[in-house]
């Protein structure tokens, strides 16, 4: 049936329209196999219980991926019907479904044994009970997002860690009740963890970080932005155990200093993306260590690191990552940076974007010279849109439109 194959490419709205064309099309369009992946984001507040119930009855066992992101009116009952009907669900997105409570997790736990990816961000009504249910009933869970669910505490995370041994991705942005206890349990029970996001979890400390790092040695992406109480000890723990680290976001961790990054740079050579915004204690010494130890850096954010000078940038510019790998460097609000830094970065042929807002010693001339050397780079500064680089009087080759097609 060619029509069925064609329909399998269509989105929800188109399928519904096709279903109104004729009886044959109706049967084919509403065939469960076309409804394996359903995304209802565009309908949001229009989606209420009956809609979800209908979809779940229609799709039955075919539905694998469902997104109800932003559908604020969806209730626990609707999801109970859904869970009963669609037992093969693998990926479920309930981001911003504010009406959801622990009862939904209960339903999922009973029926959704194949659930692997679950997003419950901003479902502020849920509590630790949700995590306990999930850990009981969904052993295959590998990705969980509970950001902004501020009732979640250590008990829930402990249950989750014990129950879902395959957990790879855990995002708990803004879960302020999480403390070192959670990190201890993650370290003990979640060795497969690769992504951990603890943005704004202000109550964690160095001890918890050490426990976590010891157990989660496969960690690739870690976000600790806003965790003000962490010190260099955390960085040293990471350097001891998490050698696969690729992304490290620690903006706002103002206690981190050169010694921490020295340790980190020694062992974590896989680092690709680093966000060090507002780590005000770091100086050129950190940059020297990173330049030596991390040859894979693609994105480096140093906004508001006020001690950085041209010397540190010189080391970055001559490091192993500089020539081909470095793509983005953010130096906004570093007041000591001058045109000399731009000179040092002229060898970075892979550079795509450089941020220079509020670097008051940078001049228009300096930027123009950089753009002449690296024509593909986007320089972001407060100067009005820059004039096009000098073409040395060479005529630009001209093409008419038809020639380029020919």
């Amino acid at each position: 049936m060619n029509l069925l194959i064609i329909f399998s490419y269509l989105d929800v709205v188109s399928l519904c329209r096709c279903a109104q064309v004729s009886r044959t099309w109706n049967v084919l369009a509403l065939d469960g196999s076309n409804w394996q992946r359903v995304n209802l984001f565009d309908f949001q507040t229009d989606i209420e219980g009956p809609v979800v119930a209908n979809i779940s009855k229609r799709c039955g066992g075919f539905l694998k991926v469902l997104s109800l992101r932003g559908c604020k009116s969806v209730t626990d009952d609707a999801l109970k019907t859904f869970a009963e009907n669609c037992r093969n669900i693998e990926e479920l997105n309930l981001d911003d479904c504010k009406s959801i409570t622990d009862s939904t997790a209960n339903s999922l736990s009973k029926y959704s044994k194949k659930l692997m990816i679950l997003d419950l961000a901003s479902c502020t009504a849920i509590s630790d009970q949700t995590l306990k249910s999930i850990s009981d009933g969904c052993p295959l869970l590998s990705q969980l997002n509970i950001s902004w669910c501020n009732q979640i505490s250590d008990n829930g995370v402990e249950a989750l860690a014990r129950g879902c041994k395959d957990l790879k991705v855990l995002r708990c942005k803004g879960c302020v009740m999480i403390t070192d206890d959670s990190l201890l349990h993650l370290g003990l029970h979640s060795p497969k963890l690769t992504t951990l996001n603890l943005h704004n979890c202000v109550n964690i400390s160095d001890d918890g970080m050490q426990d976590m790092a010891r157990g989660c040695t496969n960690l690739k992406s870690l976000c600790l932005s806003g965790c003000l109480h962490l010190t260099d000890k955390s960085l040293i723990s990471l350097s001891n155990y998490c050698h696969s680290l690729r992304t490290l976001e620690v903006s706002g961790c103002c206690q981190f200093s050169d010694s921490g990054f020295q340790a980190l740079a020694r062992t974590c050579s896989e680092l690709r993306k680093m966000d060090l915004e507002e780590c005000v204690l770091i100086s050129d010494a950190s940059l020297i260590h990173l330049a030596i130890g991390c040859p894979n850096i693609e994105t480096l954010t140093l906004s508001h690191c006020e001690l950085i000078t041209d010397e540190g940038i010189r080391h970055i510019g001559t490091s192993a990552c500089a020539t081909e790998v470095l793509k983005v460097i953010e130096l906004d609000n570093c007041p000591l940076i001058t045109d000399a830094s731009l000179e040092h970065l002229m060898g970075c042929h892979g550079l795509q974007r450089i941020e220079l807002y509020d670097c008051q010693l940078i001049t228009k001339a300096g930027i123009r010279r950089l753009e002449a050397q690296l024509p593909n780079v986007n320089v972001h500064a407060y100067f009005a849109p820059p004039t096009p680089p000098n073409t040395d009087g060479r005529q630009r080759p001209r093409y008419c439109r038809c020639c380029s097609i020919l």
């Binding site: 986007n378 320089v379 407060y382 009005a384």
Partner: protein
């Protein structure tokens, strides 16, 4: 493309400025045609927010586009920031104000915050009609609904909040009135607020009369300010209070007319006061029959006072000039009947003319003559 990033950065700078300086109370443009230093165009000095003009032609179209495209989208978070900046730069766009109304209904910010924000806009654009319209909408939807019996439990209407709102509005109108001469929009908004928020309660009328006294003294030619005082007086429901205030007002006006000769606004104010007094007395006259005999006796005693006013030539007016006393000795008023007696009024006007110093007497004379003509035409 670079423009878009720059615009986003400038908007971020604005938001950071508001976040770090919650007490910002004034906004203005800093003339700067060309950017020479790599520094943010948004500056905060003390509690004053300024933006350099070079970035406007880049940022305004960007924000405009973003607001119109994202308005009906699902993600409302950016709308608040963008609309704030857009309205600071150009408050005359109703669409942006409507976006803010929608955000207000979704409780993205409180009414008081919004009123304070509009006050900031008024420091830079004191006559902006759209701003006043928006203020009135906010006040209607946040503070007066409960009074009308619509129970909307989103809105908490405590007396304290209403009082704060009232103070905020008075302050905003005052600043706007100072920002532009005879700012009709600001003063008529003030009148509306007194009616809507304070429901013309006696205490508010009293305090407002008191507050605006010094302002009027410093802005004698502000027609709208004086019109506000006329409104305050006319709203007095109790006749005795009104009488008392009218008396004081005439006194005050006499001082002003002498100190600041030749201001049409003041003479107009006098006309209005006279009119008010006459209206009030008519109200009194209709009340009871008993008073009428009393009035008759009062009137007869007054007629004894009047001297036939000789037609004075221009020369004698100048000769009559006494030294400028500063404080009007004038005829002290003691009752409303004295106020409305046209002959007495002419005499008082003449006294004012006489008190005026030589250098300004010509111009004062012109106003005096016009006033006398008006009195003659005035039919009770």
């Amino acid at each position: 493309m670079n423009d878009d990033f720059l615009s986003k950065r400038v908007v971020a700078d604005f938001c950071a400025a508001f976040r770090k300086n919650p007490r910002i109370d004034e906004f203005g443009f800093v003339y700067c045609p060309e950017k020479t230093v790599n520094k943010s165009p948004v500056t905060v000095e003390g509690n004053k927010l300024g933006v350099e003009t070079w970035c406007l032609k880049i940022v305004s179209p960007f924000i405009h586009r973003q607001l119109l495209s994202q308005r009906h989208g699902k993600d409302k978070s950016k709308l608040q920031e963008y609309s704030k900046v857009a309205l600071l730069l150009n408050p005359e766009c109703s669409t942006f104000w409507n976006i803010r109304k929608e955000l207000f209904q979704r409780k993205y910010f409180t009414a008081l915050t919004e009123l304070k924000f509009t006050n900031i806009i008024l420091t830079c654009h004191p006559k902006s009609p759209e701003t006043y319209v928006h203020k009135r909408w906010i006040v209607r939807h946040a503070f007066t609904k409960q009074a009308e019996g619509n129970v909307d439990n989103r809105i908490v209407d405590t007396d304290e909040q209403t009082q704060t709102a009232l103070d905020t509005e008075m302050e905003g109108s005052r600043v706007a009135a100072s920002g532009y001469p005879s700012n009709y929009n600001a003063w008529s908004h003030r009148i509306w607020t007194v009616k809507a928020l304070a429901r013309c309660s006696a205490e508010v009328l009293e305090s407002e009369l008191e507050n605006t006294k010094s302002w009027v003294r410093q802005h004698v030619s502000d027609h709208s300010g004086l019109q506000y005082r006329q409104f305050l007086l006319s709203e007095h429901r109790q006749k005795c209070l009104l009488e008392e205030h009218l008396l004081k007002e005439f006194q005050f006006l006499d001082d002003l007319l002498i100190s600041y000769p030749g201001h049409e606004a003041l003479w107009n104010h006098r006309r209005a006061l006279y009119h008010l007094a006459v209206q009030s007395q008519e109200g009194l006259g209709h009340q009871t029959e008993e008073l009428s005999t009393e009035n008759a006796s009062v009137k007869s005693s007054l007629t004894g006072l009047e001297d036939p006013i000789e037609p004075l030539g221009a020369g004698s007016l100048v000769e009559e000039n006494k030294s400028h006393t500063g404080e009007g000795e004038g005829v002290r008023l003691t009752s409303i009947n004295e106020m409305v007696n046209p002959l007495l009024e002419k005499k008082r006007a003449l006294a004012i003319l006489e008190e005026t110093s030589t250098s300004d007497s010509k111009i004062q004379e012109r106003h005096y003559k016009l006033y006398i003509q008006w009195l003659d035409r005035f039919k009770t």
